[in-house]
């Protein structure tokens, strides 16, 4: 996948969406007192938040790297 085609703003939107979804699930897992709430948190919420952070960091790398045109 070519990140330059996707664009930083789209990456930020994906990152925000993942983080928001993960955080909402984390709230559900904290309010829900059930053995499965830990599974919901550890395997779904934390994964979504982690992916959101990762996508954000990828967008930072993409934003920091000079484009081919500016180098020429």
């Amino acid at each position: 996948m070519n990140f330059s085609q996707i664009g930083i703003q789209r990456l930020l939107r994906i990152s925000s969406g993942l983080v928001i979804a993960g955080l909402l699930l984390e709230i559900v897992s904290l309010v829900w007192f059930h053995p499965l709430s830990f599974v919901l948190f550890a395997f779904i919420a934390a994964t979504l938040i982690g992916l959101g952070i990762l996508v954000y960091l990828v967008s930072l790398v993409f934003a920091a790297s000079p484009s081919t045109q500016s180098r020429q």
């Binding site: 925000s16 969406g17 984390e26 007192f33 053995p35 948190f41 938040i49 952070i53």
Partner: protein, 204 residues
């Protein structure tokens, strides 16, 4: 504690929502910093806080007995008979009533809490994916270790000065002689016979 964590999560959601609606804001330096906090720092802190809260919650007696197979074990804490070791410890607050299961069943080693969580996940798998075990057939892998009793009792005067304990202290510490299965303190949860027992009703 959960309240603070939820406030932090809500703040993080609000910040992330800003960048979901208007990602173009990050072209300004100030907003770049806000984006870093909202999309990286706060969510990472929320994961750490959430994990900590869930681990602390899983140490509560209420949490342990929220599993169907553990319900009779929870009931056995109210047996009105001092020979029942878990009931005697729970009712006389020899262990914290809120952490009764964890106090005696925690693996007090460096990776103990991690092992406990893995065991818990295994039980969740058995409950929802594999075949749920019969509560009476549940056994601790490797048996109940003396270290779990000695964690509190070693150093206690009434334990150390007891001539029976003193005579076999080395065997107890090396786990050669089991506190529970060598015939001395052999009535643990005994859930097969719960229906014949009288139960203690705590004063509300």
């Amino acid at each position: 504690m959960i309240g603070i964590l939820i406030c932090q999560i809500v703040l993080s959601i609000v910040l992330a929502s800003v960048f979901l609606i208007r990602p173009s804001l990050t072209s300004a330096t100030g907003w770049k910093i806000v984006a870093f906090i909202g999309l990286c720092v706060l969510p990472a802190l929320c994961i750490v806080g959430g994990m900590n809260t869930h681990v602390q919650r899983s140490e509560q007696t209420r949490f342990c007995v929220s599993c169907h197979v553990m319900i009779p074990y929870g009931q056995s804490l109210y047996v009105d008979d001092p020979k029942h070791i878990p009931a005697q410890h729970f009712q006389n607050h020899r262990v914290s009533a809120d952490m009764a299961c964890y106090s005696c069943h925690a693996d007090y080693t460096i990776y103990g809490p991690l092992n406990d969580k893995l065991q818990g996940l295994k039980r969740i798998y058995m409950q929802y994916v594999s075949t749920p075990p019969d509560p009476a057939a549940i056994r601790i892998p490797g048996g109940f270790k003396n270290a779990q009793c000695l964690h509190c009792h070693v150093g206690a005067r009434n334990f150390e000065e007891n001539p029976v304990h003193a005579a076999m202290m080395d065997s107890l510490k090396s786990n050669q002689l089991s506190c529970l299965s060598s015939g001395c303190h052999d009535t643990a949860h005994d859930i097969e016979n719960l229906s014949h027992e009288k139960f203690w009703k705590p004063v509300q």
